[in-house]
């Protein structure tokens, strides 16, 4: 084949160009730190990268949700624990008051303590995380339990805050300062959180389930037990009130069971959230690893490539210098 000077220089220029563009790509990979910078660099890799990034985002959100749910649950757990303790104490006091012989004044002070404990339960049932009431169901911005004292009800509908004691004596205005009614303003709403793709958990216990349960209303039981103590009732009383006391004590036990059951459920959910968080953390790690493997530049390999390409470039430059050589013209002097 006939070879002309133009052909040779064109060839050299072409080769230098090819090498330069390879060098450029390698430099780009190194300086950006990523090997997939546009979808065209590696379509499947780009699609994977995108999916990993979206998944990582999701995982972060799900972790935050699980964390949030766990906080809520652990708050509920503590509150339920306290409620359990209070119920225990109420029970002890009541049993003491109704089984042993005390002066009515001693009973009255026990009743006063029961009343305090009732206040405490209401306070616990109104616990808040941030702006949210824990036991309000969906109605998180409204205090779930409000109390009415004897005087409030007297003002409202004229209910007499007096009690008639076991001997038929009227104890005037004995409940004037005591809690006689507790209202629930929440609902049965179950707060939901998505803690993994499509996995939605309930993380609250509506207060209506624990404190003002329809079947055995805890608060009503405590109120009526207190009233029985104030009336001077004991379990031995043959008249109807004796049965009331034992009935309400039974109710109290049932409530304690209920609280414990919910507490166990809450505990189990907390554990689930914890293992969920752990799983999400693991997922995040492996996802980050995958992402890095897909998109990040392998520094060692790329630097190696760069060196090889540099030396090829050097070679092609020096060959170029030789090819664009003197022509016959130089010798015709």
């Amino acid at each position: 084949m006939r070879v002309t000077n133009q052909m040779m220089s064109r060839n050299v220029v072409n080769n230098i160009q090819t090498n330069m563009s390879k060098l450029d790509k390698t430099n780009d990979k190194l300086s950006k730190g990523t090997k997939i910078n546009t979808p065209g660099d590696d379509p499947t890799g780009a699609v994977k990268t995108m999916a990993y990034k979206t998944t990582l985002n999701e995982i972060e959100k799900f972790s935050a949700n699980a964390q949030n749910a766990k906080n809520f649950l652990s708050y509920s757990d503590v509150a339920l624990g306290q409620v359990g303790d209070v119920i225990q104490r109420v029970r002890e006091l009541t049993v003491q008051a109704v089984t042993e012989t005390y002066e009515q004044t001693a009973r009255d002070s026990m009743a006063a303590e029961v009343n305090e404990l009732l206040d405490q339960i209401v306070a616990i049932s109104n616990s808040k995380i941030g702006d949210k009431f824990v036991f309000s169901g969906f109605n998180t911005l409204e205090q779930p339990f409000t109390t009415k004292r004897g005087k409030d009800l007297l003002k409202e509908d004229g209910t007499d805050p007096s009690l008639t004691d076991i001997n038929g004596q009227k104890r005037e205005n004995i409940n004037l300062e005591n809690i006689v009614k507790v209202d629930y303003h929440g609902d049965d709403g179950k707060l939901l959180a998505e803690v993994d793709k499509g996995i939605v958990v309930e993380y609250n216990v509506p207060g209506s389930r624990i404190f003002t349960n329809e079947k055995n209303n805890l608060i009503k039981s405590i109120i009526s037990l207190r009233d029985e103590i104030l009336k001077g009732n004991t379990v031995d009383d043959k008249a109807g009130s004796g049965t009331t006391v034992s009935n309400e004590l039974g109710n109290l036990d049932k409530n304690l069971d209920l609280v414990m059951r919910y507490r166990a459920e809450v505990g189990a959910k907390m554990q689930r959230m914890e293992s969920m968080e752990q799983r999400l953390r693991d997922n995040k790690l492996s996802m980050t690893d995958l992402l890095s493997k897909t998109v990040d530049t392998d520094i060692t390999e790329t630097i190696n490539d760069l060196k090889v390409q540099e030396s090829v470039q050097r070679m092609s430059l020096s060959v170029g210098a030789k090819v664009i050589q003197p022509t016959l013209v130089d010798f015709l002097r």
């Binding site: 000077n5 065209g40 590696d42 995108m50 109605n139 911005l141």
Partner: protein, 624 residues
């Protein structure tokens, strides 16, 4: 002894002089683009002698020829055409990659991810105003991002269109110049001479033309004819012109290329022009439609969920994003100049509680009659028991209510490639939506046997719907939405102004019609959760958002890679061809130097010969 010797010498001198001139021309044009090396053909001149036969009386330059291989030229044109097409594709697909900007962290997907995150936040803190505000901000960012992405593709598309105009003009001026050259060649070569440099110019120009559009050259003697897409457009010194037509109704007012004289479209097969046409009519529009699809999916589904929920004040939710058309409009869709009904979405009015069990169990109709005693009401339950079939866009779907659940029938419709996606709304009412491929228009619906569609409230019993018959709009459910038309993505905006109106809460159904009517309190974020979970549902046509972005990016990536690979190969091929061509037509300076020496020596020798002849003649004159 005659003066013949001097004549021979003179001829030789002038022949060598001329050859030297050609060598000089070669050397000086060595680096001119498209120059083909010229070669001097010398021929001997003979006299007929009675005794010896032929007697040479010297040589003269007979022809000056171009060294050119037209076979390679033709190949070159073809390859350059293809190359130019892929070059323009490569550059512009890269531009599109920058618009989509994946897999970086400044992409529309990232904005969407942040929007989902904010929606999740709302589901956790529906009572918090700042969460609502940040969700609204994210939603605004999302709709801006969708519409600006759409706009960038659209402006890219307009650029392509303007470029097509420019290229068409370039082609026209090339054709004009080619015809001119043809005329000049004819005049020069009329005397049998070669118009080498003009032909070089012609070849160069036609090669440049081949980069713009597919051209073919047929060479017959001094006649070079050029054809584009099978039509001869340069013949002798006449040529045809391309005219650019724009009609508002055809192809959105974009440039269409016609031959000016016969009013027929130009058949563009390759070259830069083809690349631009493809980019304009296939690629750019594809990504614009993707954006439309994304916007329609987001708007429609989010609105549906938001409307089913209740806002901060316990008011039934409204639109989250501005919707497209609330009324099914009437317009000419298929371009037949007659009006059609453009319905995008039809929703039935029948809400069903249980969608998993067979319809015959879940859809019992209760009829109350006065009992035998004339006082008590007797309730009899009639199961919805039938086998039947209906047609959507002429695809037949068979069902049997004793086996199929509502979910099952929805699946059947979706598997049937009807061009309509069926789904259930938040209250489990049947919804039919037209797909992108059908221009977001539901074309026909009819119940062949049975009453499923009318029971679900999609069409009226015993009636059919056909979009061409606008009257039949009366036969379908009143709860319908007009086709989003074009540029839904561009027009995407957030409808929520007051963040309290975001319907984060669900409600409860108190009157038993399957539709929630009593709002849940503010702490309920379950409706927001439902909106957030749209993310993993198939809510863009048949795709989830993730699948959707995957398909955009892999589409784009493969286009880009295809262009790159093709260009790489094409570069090697073109280089190869160019080398082969240069081997024939290229000027080798060494060679020219040798030629120069040859001719110089020839000239010297001829001069010497003349001197000798002169001496011989003077010998005769002086000595005699």
């Amino acid at each position: 002894m005659s003066f013949n010797g001097l004549e021979v010498g003179k001829r030789s001198l002038s022949a060598h002089q001329q050859a030297m001139g050609v060598t000089g021309h070669n050397i000086s044009s060595a680096n001119k683009e498209g120059y083909s090396r010229q070669k001097v053909e010398m021929n001997t001149i003979t006299n007929k002698h009675e005794k010896y036969g032929q007697v040479g009386i010297g040589a003269e330059v007979d022809e000056i020829n171009r060294a050119r291989d037209t076979f390679i030229d033709d190949r070159m044109m073809k390859e350059k055409s293809a190359n130019a097409k892929w070059e323009i594709r490569d550059i512009n697909i890269k531009n599109m990659e920058y618009i989509i900007n994946e897999p970086s962290d400044q992409s529309i997907r990232k904005v969407l991810d942040e929007y989902w995150e904010a929606m999740q936040d709302l589901s956790q803190n529906p009572e918090d105003m700042s969460t609502r505000v940040s969700l609204r901000e994210r939603a605004v960012a999302l709709s801006n991002s969708v519409s600006s992405t759409y706009e960038r593709f659209e402006s890219l598309r307009t650029d392509f269109d303007q470029n097509i105009d420019v290229v068409a003009n370039d082609i026209n001026s090339s054709l004009r110049r080619l015809a001119e050259i043809n005329g000049q060649v004819r005049r020069v070569e009329a005397g049998g001479a070669q118009a080498n440099d003009l032909r070089d110019e012609f070849d160069l120009l036609v090669e440049k033309l081949s980069e713009m559009v597919n051209v073919k050259v047929s060479r017959k003697g001094s006649e070079n004819a050029v054809s584009i897409g099978g039509r001869t457009v340069v013949q002798g010194d006449t040529f045809k012109e391309i005219s650019v037509k724009r009609e508002a109704k055809v192809n959105e007012g974009f440039a269409q290329l016609y031959w000016d004289d016969i009013d027929e479209p130009v058949l563009v097969q390759t070259g830069k022009l083809k690349g631009l046409l493809e980019l304009r009519d296939e690629d750019a529009i594809k990504y614009m439609k993707y954006m439309d699809q994304l916007a329609i999916g987001l708007i429609d589904n989010t609105n549906d969920v938001n409307k089913a929920g209740f806002d901060f004040r316990g008011v039934q939710g409204g639109e989250f994003f501005e919707t497209f058309e609330t009324e099914a409009q009437i317009r000419d869709i298929n371009g037949d100049k007659e009006d059609e009904a453009a319905v995008y979405k039809i929703r039935g009015n029948k809400a069903i509680e249980d969608t998993k069990r067979p319809l015959s169990i879940t859809m019992q109709t209760e009829t109350k009659t006065i009992g035998a005693d004339g006082v008590t009401e007797e309730v009899s339950k009639v199961p919805f028991n039938e086998t039947g079939s209906f047609e959507i866009n002429n695809i037949i779907i068979n069902y049997d209510t004793s086996k199929d659940s509502l979910d099952g029938i929805v699946e059947k419709i979706n598997k049937g490639k009807t061009g309509v996606v069926a789904s259930l709304d938040p209250n489990n009412r049947l919804v039919l939506r037209a797909e992108k491929d059908e221009d977001y228009v539901v074309k026909t619906i009819s119940q062949s046997s049975g009453t499923f569609l009318s029971t679900m409230g999609i069409i009226k019993e015993g009636q059919n719907y056909n979009y061409k018959n606008t009257e039949s709009l009366n036969n379908i459910s009143e709860d319908r939405m007009g086709s989003p038309r074009d540029r839904a993505a561009f027009r995407m905006t957030v409808a929520i102004n007051n963040v309290e109106n975001i319907a984060a809460a669900k409600g409860t159904d108190t009157n038993g019609d399957g539709v929630a009517d009593k709002p849940n309190p503010v702490g309920d974020g379950s409706n927001a959760l439902k909106m957030a979970m749209l993310k993993s549902e198939k809510s863009i046509g048949r795709f989830t958002y993730e699948e959707f972005f995957k398909s955009i990016v892999s589409d784009l990536g493969i286009s880009s890679q295809e262009a790159q690979k093709f260009l790489e190969n094409q570069n090697i091929l073109l280089n190869n061809l160019e080398q082969r061509r240069q081997a024939t037509m290229g000027v080798s300076l060494d060679e020219e130097m040798a030629e120069m020496l040859k001719y110089q020596h020839g000239y010297d020798a001829a001069a010497r010969y003349m001197k000798t002849v002169d001496d011989m003649i003077s010998t005769v004159i002086e000595k005699l």
